[in-house]
């Protein structure tokens, strides 16, 4: 069985000639903005199986009774991959993430019930996972949509100012 090393960005290693550079898919669109934080390099590990058996020091977001996303600092990915139960898939590179402030902006980005977060639904028309801490929101979505989502988010924020 392959351990799917090629899925995990943190397994890249600098060698004498090579120094792999992690690039966020939001880097270009968010360059020069301070209102939106880029969370793309956060560790994001998907667990399938017995979600209740997850016992780690990290934020666990349940998506279904059999599926959860564990969020952690990038450096912690390796340790968590080893400790998490069930089928463990490193989604760090798959999902882009951003954090923004303000309920009104969110109301213009998604039809999700902001009182019922975390939840999965559409943000700027693309599938996303949304988390809330007070008036701050974190959104995770497929990285291939990142540049587009970034543009929409900045545009929405501009419309509110």
């Amino acid at each position: 069985m392959s351990e799917l090393h090629f899925l995990s960005p943190d397994r890249a290693r600098s060698e004498d000639l090579f120094a792999p550079r992690f690039a966020s898919p939001l880097a270009r669109v968010l360059a020069g903005t301070t209102s939106v934080l880029d969370l793309s390099q956060l560790g994001k590990i998907e667990v399938r199986g017995d979600v209740d058996a997850i016992d780690v020091e990290a934020e666990v977001v349940r998506i279904t009774p059999r599926r959860a996303l564990v969020l952690c600092p990038y450096e912690q990915c390796a340790e968590l991959r080893a400790r998490l139960p069930g089928l463990v898939i490193d989604m760090t590179g798959a999902l882009a993430g951003l954090e923004l402030e303000g309920e009104q902006a969110m109301r213009r980005l998604t039809d999700l019930d902001l009182e019922g977060l975390p939840a999965a639904g559409k943000v700027a028309e693309v599938p996303a996972l949304v988390l809330r801490d007070g008036s701050r929101f974190r959104i995770f979505f497929p990285q291939e949509f990142a540049h587009y989502v970034g543009e929409v988010v900045l545009d929405v924020l501009e419309g509110i100012e």
Partner: protein
């Protein structure tokens, strides 16, 4: 000219506002609407009607009729009676050729009668057909309301906002506010929306001016607030939309100077304007008669009051000149006047309720339609629910008089009493048919003014009652909405690979494939293809669908899904697979690599990825096997390094033995490439020695750069989708969707080895067996042109003058120097060297059928 300060006036006389109308400067005050300011400046004609170009004035003065639509700062169809004044605005009349006073198109009113009868667009200007271009030009010029500036850019922003609330109250009148207050007092979260500018209230949120434009399933209420479209979801919806003042149907009822009571009330109360000199009031209710006091206060003398409840006249007609009211004839008496206030009672504004699913019933006593049986989440209060003062039921129409104009049922679409009668005589006697034929209720007022009167007229003409005629279906939008608001911001969901920006920086021509942006080519497609044959090229294939299939039943699962066999594969090997539908048709293709005993890595086509992933998940749920499928499409970037020198390049970067023994054709190996962990698939879609590297997306740009840097001396160049298409065609590798359609199966597509019909079962097996039994009807083959012309894709293949197939792909191969392609042909043509004729530019071109790949037919280069 304004009256002295009125008690509730809305204008702030200390703050003048100036705007332009038809080249002159008009002055109003803060608090005015463009309409009120124009009226105060003496303007009485506000528009020309839709069909006959008749002069029209402020009939309702509350945003409910078509009479005051103008172009304001380039935006057509603005109802100026409710549009607040703004400094420097440019206001123009629309639907006129000339000016409001001298509109050349008014000729239609004088001479057009016989040419524009009801339903004229169904029967005139059709013959002779040869004149259609002429008719069309004319019709396009006169049709429609307002004009859009074709060169206009985006001038304002529109946003959409999703809102939730416990209680949504629509309408800020007395009942609406009461309902909102009591819900708020009961601790509910309440939002009230109001078309007019209802004032704020401490107890609940007020959105105004904002207009609910419909009630959809699930309690969705879109609210138009000008620049923002609110999509409300409410647990409870309270409809307090009030009632609509109804006009009376009598000859001359569209003259300038004929108003509904509300218009007069607003002109006097809110803007302190004297609406006329001599007024006649004809009213079915107290409200209508009550404007007499206001008029007197404003200095207008009320010369006649006719109460339809006590003494309804038989005859009522208005006479005018130049479109303006001059006198009213009542039962033989002519009364001079310049103002006629008409009131046919008030009809509950039930449209939103009906949209929500309420029933609407006719109340014969009161002569109105009343909503009933409301859905449980919707409530009606106040006049919308039918609570209102008693009123007389007016006659369907009144008798006319010599010299009085036409009797209009619908002012939006210029439908007259005569038109309705004629439609009924022609057999359009049901209200739904009559509506479509005459277009009554289909104009900008959306039936506010013409719905009930037209039903009443239909009832009289059909010698039945309103109940039997019934209402037409109420549909959103209840009020006109600008397309800009519905469209919202111009964002288009777009997928970009993690290498995307490198392609743009390299000046690639980008193209859409599904949601993806991909490089078509960088400079010259043919050269990019040649570079792959001669040296080494690299293409971004991150868009490929990628799936992990893992679990004890993984092999079984795949064998059930695909016609192929996978259980016999060795770990570390790759197989080409074609996915079929339950009808045995080709759905997608890709490679399947066995990474472990119970672990497979599957790739799909770029555009088919989402469908295939759903397909996998769906069958997984159906079969309940012990297997997990994980979508890794976006998690991984992928590049294909191809060409005779690709091995040398990989050798410099990868930590494995890249010799043919180290990694041979159709091997899958994991290793580090330039420090990045990769899965290397040695496959050959483009026909040369090649390696597909799959690795974590965040390293897309890094690895792309590394390949270009370390391959520079080998002549590496990126290649796009177009050169890839040439290369794969040289190898006769199919493109699903291009060379196949919804009818194609693997047997007829020339890939019989894919279908393992001796397997117990797989999706679509029965269909392939059936194809085998019935024999082939067509086959997918290659062809080579004898004279080098490239036929169009989709081009017809002809045999003895009859269609015998079609071209699916065709290109000029720079490597072979020949025009090649693939085509579906009849089975008798599917043999090496068969000659076929292909339609090209009106003539025919000869081609030879080829069954083996045009390039490297034995695959020696692929395996080298």
């Amino acid at each position: 000219m304004r009256l002295p300060e009125q008690l509730n006036e809305r204008i702030d006389r200390s703050r003048p506002v100036r705007f332009f109308f038809a080249g002159r400067v008009v002055e109003g005050f803060e608090g005015d609407t463009i309409g009120s300011a124009l009226f105060a400046s003496g303007q009485r004609v506000f528009s020309r009607s839709f069909k006959y170009h008749r002069r029209r004035g402020l009939l309702c003065c509350s945003g409910g009729c078509p009479n005051c639509m103008m172009r304001v700062d380039g935006v057509p169809n603005v109802r100026v009676c409710t549009e607040p004044v703004r400094e420097g605005a440019h206001v123009h009349a629309q639907n006129v050729l000339g000016s409001l006073e001298h509109d050349l198109l008014a000729a239609v009113d004088h001479f057009g009668g016989p040419f524009t009868p009801v339903g004229f667009y169904y029967r005139t200007m059709i013959r002779p057909r040869s004149l259609w271009p002429l008719y069309e030009r004319f019709l396009r010029n006169v049709a429609g309301l307002g004009r859009l500036d074709k060169h206009a850019g985006r001038t304002r922003r529109f946003d959409t906002e999703h809102r939730r609330t416990e209680v949504l109250v629509i309408g800020g009148g007395r009942s609406g506010r009461e309902a909102a207050r009591s819900a708020a007092a009961a601790g509910r979260q309440v939002v009230l929306v109001d078309e007019r500018g209802a004032p704020a209230d401490g107890a609940f949120e007020v959105l105004a001016p904002a207009r609910a434009i419909g009630i959809y399933e699930g309690g969705l209420v879109p609210v138009d607030a000008g620049n923002v479209l609110y999509r409300f979801r409410a647990e409870r919806i309270v409809v307090a939309t009030g009632a609509l003042e109804q006009p009376l149907l009598f000859p001359g009822n569209d003259l300038v100077g004929v108003h509904l009571p509300g218009a007069v009330r607003r002109l006097v109360d809110e803007w302190s304007i004297k609406p006329g000199e001599r007024a006649v009031i004809v009213s079915a209710d107290e409200r209508g008669l009550a404007v007499a006091d206001k008029l007197e206060r404003a200095g207008t003398s009320v010369v006649e009051r006719i109460d339809l409840r006590s003494a309804p006249p038989r005859q009522l007609a208005a006479r005018g000149s130049r479109g303006r009211l001059r006198s009213v004839v009542v039962d033989g008496r002519e009364i001079e006047c310049d103002l006629l206030v008409m009131s046919g009672g008030r009809q509950p504004a039930y449209s939103l309720l009906a949209q929500a699913g309420a029933r609407v019933e006719y109340d014969a006593e009161r002569g109105i339609f009343v909503p009933s049986d409301l859905p449980s989440n919707v409530e009606a209060v106040g006049s919308a629910a039918g609570e209102q003062e008693p009123a007389a039921v007016p006659a369907a129409t009144f008798e006319g008089a010599e010299g009085a104009g036409r009797c209009f049922v619908c002012v939006c679409e210029d439908v007259t009493e005569k038109d309705v009668k004629r439609a009924i005589a022609e057999g359009f006697d049901s209200i739904e048919l009559g509506k479509r034929y005459t277009t009554v209720t289909m104009g900008p007022c959306q039936g506010r003014l013409c719905h009930v009167p037209s039903i009443r007229l239909f009832a009289r003409e059909n010698e039945t009652d309103e109940k039997a005629i019934g209402t037409t279906t109420a549909r959103p939008p209840w009020a006109p909405v600008s397309l800009g608001l519905l469209a919202g911001r111009g964002h288009e969901p777009t997928k970009r690979t993690s290498i995307h920006h490198r392609h743009e920086e390299a000046g690639a021509t980008m193209m859409w494939t599904g949601f993806w942006r991909r490089a078509h080519s960088y400079e010259h497609a043919a050269n990019e293809a040649l570079n792959v044959h001669r040296g080494v090229g690299v293409i971004d294939v991150s868009t490929l669908g990628k799936l992990l299939v893992q679990g004890p039943d993984a092999a079984r699962f795949l064998e059930l899904l695909y016609p192929n066999r996978f259980g016999d594969m060795k770990v570390g090997r790759i197989r080409y697979g074609v996915l079929g539908t339950d009808a045995g048709r080709i759905m997608d293709d890709g490679t399947i690599a066995r990474l472990g005993e119970d672990q497979y890595y599957v790739t799909t086509t770029s555009t088919g990825a989402d469908t295939v992933i759903e397909w996998f998940e769906w069958w997984n749920a159906v079969w309940g096997l012990d297997v997990e499928t994980v979508n890794l499409t976006g998690a991984l970037a992928a590049v294909n390094v191809a060409g005779p020198r690709s091995r040398e390049l990989l050798g410099r970067l990868a930590q494995i033995d890249t010799s043919n023994e180290g990694i041979s054709y159709l091997d899958a190996k994991e290793t580090y490439v330039a420090g990045v962990p990769c899965l290397i698939l040695r496959i050959g879609f483009v026909g040369e020695l090649g390696y597909e590297l799959h690795f974590a997306s965040p390293y897309g740009e890094y690895l792309w750069d590394a390949l270009l840097e370390y391959g520079a001396d080998l002549g590496i160049r990126p290649f796009g989708l177009e050169p890839q298409r040439i290369l794969r065609l040289e190898k006769m590798h199919i493109l699903v969707g291009q060379d196949t359609d919804s009818e194609s199966n693997v047997l007829e597509a020339g890939m019989p080895w894919i279908a393992k019909l001796d397997k117990e079962d797989f999706v679509g097996k029965w269909a392939l067996e059936h194809v085998q039994e019935r024999g082939f009807r067509e086959q997918l083959v290659g062809f080579e042109m004898t004279d080098g012309v490239v036929p169009a894709e989709g081009g017809q293949i002809v045999l003895g003058g009859r269609p015998a197939g079609r071209v699916t792909s065709s290109r000029l191969s720079p490597q072979l120097g020949r025009a090649i392609g693939m085509a579906w042909v009849r089975p008798e043509l599917a043999h090496e060297g068969a000659e076929i004729d292909i339609k090209v530019n009106g003539g025919f071109a000869r081609a030879c059928v080829r069954l083996k790949p045009f390039f490297d037919p034995e695959g020696e280069r692929l395996r080298s």
